[in-house]
């Protein structure tokens, strides 16, 4: 590990609450180790702000390992920052150059209202899942696990879709703030598996209806979602969702 340091300028979106109109504020940070993660850099900024008697920047995070989907912000116009297939918490300061200005904003979408600074409300994702993103199986009613063989190829494809971390970057990156990649990943994953077969049509219909009712926009195939996805979830899943919807309309 090399341990160089850089000096940076930050432009950070500050917003006191949902009602506040918000504005950018500028900060300078010196001697940031290039081995620090992006969020550790924000920790340093917050320590500095606290020492100056100012309010720290609110930002969401938990695992700091790229798996929980809690973190996320738009960095220089890109959801989760410049590194492809990487969450903000797994982005390291070695990605940036000394003297660079970094602009930080919350994920913006009608369905994700800002709570404070970089923290947004993503409850809408939970509501979509609640409307059908599951297999209806009661505890205790399962057959032996190996009674349901699944070809490895199918299992692997389902897995790729199941790795979505629900962070919302796809919505933030989409010009229409659509949630089709999120819904597509969930619907694909379950419809690729025999366990999800029975409910596949209702699932697709109900999840999309809920999505529409929550203020997400329509998909216009811009493909920005796949670009921004820290888990590289493919837009193929949107195509599969559309096929599921079509089949659902026919039955």
């Amino acid at each position: 590990m090399s341990s160089n340091t850089i000096n940076i300028k930050l432009r950070v979106w500050r917003q006191n609450g949902p009602e506040d109109s918000g504005r950018f504020e500028q900060y300078t940070l010196d001697n940031i180790s290039t081995d620090a993660s992006f969020l550790e850099m924000l920790d340093v900024l917050n320590d500095q702000l606290i020492a100056e008697g100012k309010e720290p920047v609110a930002f969401d995070h938990d695992c700091r390992e790229g798996i929980c989907g809690t973190c996320g912000a738009v960095v220089n116009g890109q959801a989760h920052g410049p590194e492809k297939g990487t969450t903000l918490c797994q982005t390291h300061m070695r990605t940036f150059g000394s003297g660079q200005t970094i602009t930080l904003e919350p994920f913006r979408a009608k369905a994700f209202p800002v709570i404070r600074d970089l923290v947004v409300d993503r409850t809408a994702f939970d509501s979509i899942t609640q409307s059908g993103g599951y297999v209806s199986v009661r505890t205790g009613s399962a057959p032996d696990a190996n009674a349901i063989p699944i070809g490895k190829e199918h299992a692997d494809k389902a897995f790729d879709a199941a790795t979505c971390i629900g962070c919302g970057a796809c919505v933030a990156a989409c010009p229409n703030a659509s949630a089709m990649l999120y819904v597509g990943a969930k619907v694909s994953y379950l419809s690729l598996l025999p366990q999800g077969e029975v409910e596949r049509h209702d699932r697709a219909k109900n999840m999309v209806t809920t999505m529409d009712s929550l203020g997400f926009g329509n998909c216009s195939n811009a493909g920005e979602c796949e670009e921004a996805c820290p888990k590289n979830i493919s837009v193929e899943n949107i195509a599969r969702l559309n096929r599921e919807l079509l089949k659902a309309a026919l039955v």
Binding site: A36, E40, I50, P56, R64, F125, Y134, K152, T163
Partner: protein, 636 residues
């Protein structure tokens, strides 16, 4: 007297018989009972969904903005079950035996046996939900082996097993939210427990977005709030992991069991700077294919790939020929510490050892290794800027899991009637050392297959009067919670919350960490109250109690760690033996292995709060071993 309520009779029949003897609540009456579940990780989500399916009215709470983000999401390696799909001699009895032995004979036989029995149902349940476990080409489930076992019984979903299991439980929970049987409160933190007439009847919470305090009442409270590894500041736990719910319940009468039993995981990315906020685990499954070594020469300046085979010390294979790189975690961690303390460590700080995949890549090819561990290698490279396909990983032990927790009986009920504790938050099944891939199993066993029955047994016999949120007892607890928050805001000192957390963590790691001794523990017991005192005089929490205030959230949690730490250090001082993850330097064999004292310490130490965290009262639950013979653990 602590009554563990272990049913008598034959081990293999106990759980069946117990379920038969538990009184049932008839289906129509279940609707009349309200249950509060705090925490919606694996334990809490599975418990909430299953109790709701049975008909109970569930209110579930979590700190994150969605139940899908609980710390369980980060579990990597896998989940054990005694399916014996590999036909390699596994059985419920073997899983039971390995777990009791792995825990260094400090867990209850009856609980562990039940856990092993339930393990198979868990896999069935998860597969039915659609959890995409790894499969072989024939379409059947694949397994891998994990430390402390010589059979392949671990089910896994690449390096993301926790994520897939949690999403399965989250889906089940979402379904019951949709059915109107679970009310979900996200971004809501429990600040205290309400006990009325000696029974747990509710909680006080703070809405982390609006700042609003609320009282929720119910007929029982189920804590599924995870482990307290973050008392060390740096650990592999997620940032929000805390001891607050458990500690507040402890202050209200729940005994804390074996708080000093913490697990230090052998394979984590080493510490690299003082800005560091957390440590990252590299799954134990890597030890299946990775070989651990250090150079034979101290401070060898060569690149690892330039050091020839005969100048490397594969110290685990050398010291433990039969288990080799797959020795249990406590053994592997101590061995790494020993070689580094002796000056053989590598990397800039000398506090690291190599985990090398070159042989496995030569044998199976890079693609096979990528298939098995791709996401872990990727994560390693992101953090360290080194490519583990080309050069060995550098690893070092880090705090990972806490075996201690609130004391519970066989029904998972604490010493406060009506307060149940599940998952990592309880102390129950792992003794002094948890085997890999057993925490996920325990959380789901507790949630899917134990609490749904035992809570019925409680309701069927408890006499529960009506309580309301506006009665005096509830208002009193709510007032106390508000006052505490006000007090934190009013200190208006000079030091940020994190600096206190770091100071405490540093002390705990040095004095109550991987190796402990009397002198260090006594020093910790002296220092902790000093840090706590300064905290309450000099902490600086900006902002107000209204609205989102992340410094305030952290401050409350650090304040509780500062009390809890003292009880933890005291427990470590009192347990004058070495067992599992608790290594007292004074008690070791001539070969440097842990030396247990079964005559004096084959018990659970359950601490009762007395008003002063330095002076809790000790209660002992003697452990009886009828089936497994106590021996010096050997992995040689």
């Amino acid at each position: 007297m602590l009554d563990s309520k272990i049913p008598g009779g034959q081990l293999a029949e106990m759980w069946d018989k117990h379920r038969f003897n538990l009184k049932l609540v008839n289906p129509a009456n279940k609707r009349k009972f309200d249950v509060i579940v705090v925490g919606t990780g694996l334990a809490g989500a599975s418990a909430s969904a299953t109790m709701a399916e049975l008909g109970y009215n569930v209110k579930a709470f979590c700190i994150q903005d969605s139940p899908r983000r609980a710390h369980s999401i980060a579990a990597q390696g896998g989940i054990n079950a005694a399916k014996n799909y590999q036909n390699d001699g596994d059985s419920v009895y073997r899983l039971f035996y390995d777990t009791v032995k792995g825990g260094d004979y400090r867990s209850r036989e009856a609980n562990v046996y039940r856990l092993a029995q339930n393990s198979n149902n868990i896999i069935d349940q998860c597969v039915a939900q659609g959890v995409p476990f790894a499969r072989e080409y024939g379409g059947l489930l694949a397994n891998r082996s994990f430390g402390g076992a010589q059979v392949s019984r671990t089910f896994y979903a690449r390096g993301q097993t926790g994520q897939q299991l949690l999403l399965g439980a989250y889906n089940a929970l979402s379904r019951m939210i949709n059915a109107g049987k679970v009310q979900m409160y996200t971004r809501t933190e429990m600040l205290d427990l309400i006990v009325i007439d000696g029974k747990a009847r509710g909680i006080v919470t703070r809405n982390l977005v609006t700042g609003k305090f609320e009282t929720h009442v119910a007929d029982a409270v189920v804590l599924c709030t995870g482990g307290y590894g973050n008392v060390f500041y740096l650990s592999t736990n997620a940032m929000a992991c805390n001891v607050t719910a458990s500690w507040r319940a402890h202050r209200r009468g729940a005994y804390f069991a074996n708080p000093c039993f913490t697990q230090i995981h052998p394979t984590c990315i080493p510490v690299h700077g003082d800005f560091q906020s957390k440590l990252t685990l590299m799954s134990e499954s890597l030890r299946n294919d990775g070989r651990v070594w250090v150079p034979k020469k101290k401070k060898d300046p060569r690149k690892p790939t330039d050091i020839p085979e005969n100048e490397r010390d594969y110290y685990l294979e050398r010291r433990y020929p039969s288990f080799g790189n797959l020795v249990p975690r406590d053994v592997a961690s101590r061995a790494a510490k020993a070689v580094c303390d002796d000056g053989y460590g590598v990397g800039p700080t000398g506090m690291a050892v190599y985990l090398d995949f070159a042989d496995a890549i030569r044998r199976d090819g890079e693609d096979a290794i990528r298939e098995r561990y791709g996401n872990l290698f990727h994560m390693y490279q992101k953090i360290t800027d080194e490519n583990p396909y080309q050069t060995p990983m550098k690893i070092f032990p880090a705090v990972h899991y806490t075996m201690g927790g609130l004391w519970v009986d066989y029904n998972l009920m604490s010493t406060v009637p009506g307060l149940f504790v599940l998952g990592e938050a309880n102390f129950s099944d792992h003794g002094a050392n948890r085997l890999g891939a057993s925490a996920l199993m325990q959380g789901l066993s507790d949630g899917y297959f134990v609490i749904p029955y035992t809570i019925g047994g409680y309701f069927a016999q408890a006499e529960l009067g009506k309580v309301t949120a506006d009665q005096a007892e509830c208002r009193h607890v709510e007032r106390e919670a508000r006052d505490r928050v006000e007090k934190l805001l009013n200190v208006k000192g000079k030091r940020g919350v994190d600096s206190f957390h770091k100071e405490l963590g540093h002390l705990m790691w040095n004095n109550v960490g991987m190796a402990r001794n009397r002198q260090g523990l006594e020093e910790a017991l002296r220092r902790i109250p000093e840090i706590r005192k300064e905290f309450w005089e000099n902490v600086n929490v900006n902002g107000s109690a209204e609205g989102l205030n992340q410094s305030l959230e952290k401050a409350g949690r650090v304040a509780d760690f500062l009390e809890f730490a003292e009880t933890m250090a005291l427990d470590a001082l009192t347990r004058e033996e070495s067992c599992g993850g608790h290594f007292r330097e004074e008690f070791q064999t001539s070969e440097g292995e842990a030396r247990r004292d079964d005559d004096n310490f084959a018990h659970v130490a359950a601490w009762e709060y007395t008003g002063d965290p330095a002076k809790p009262t000790l209660h002992k639950e003697e452990l009886e071993f009828e089936y497994v013979k106590l021996t010096q653990r050997s992995y040689k």
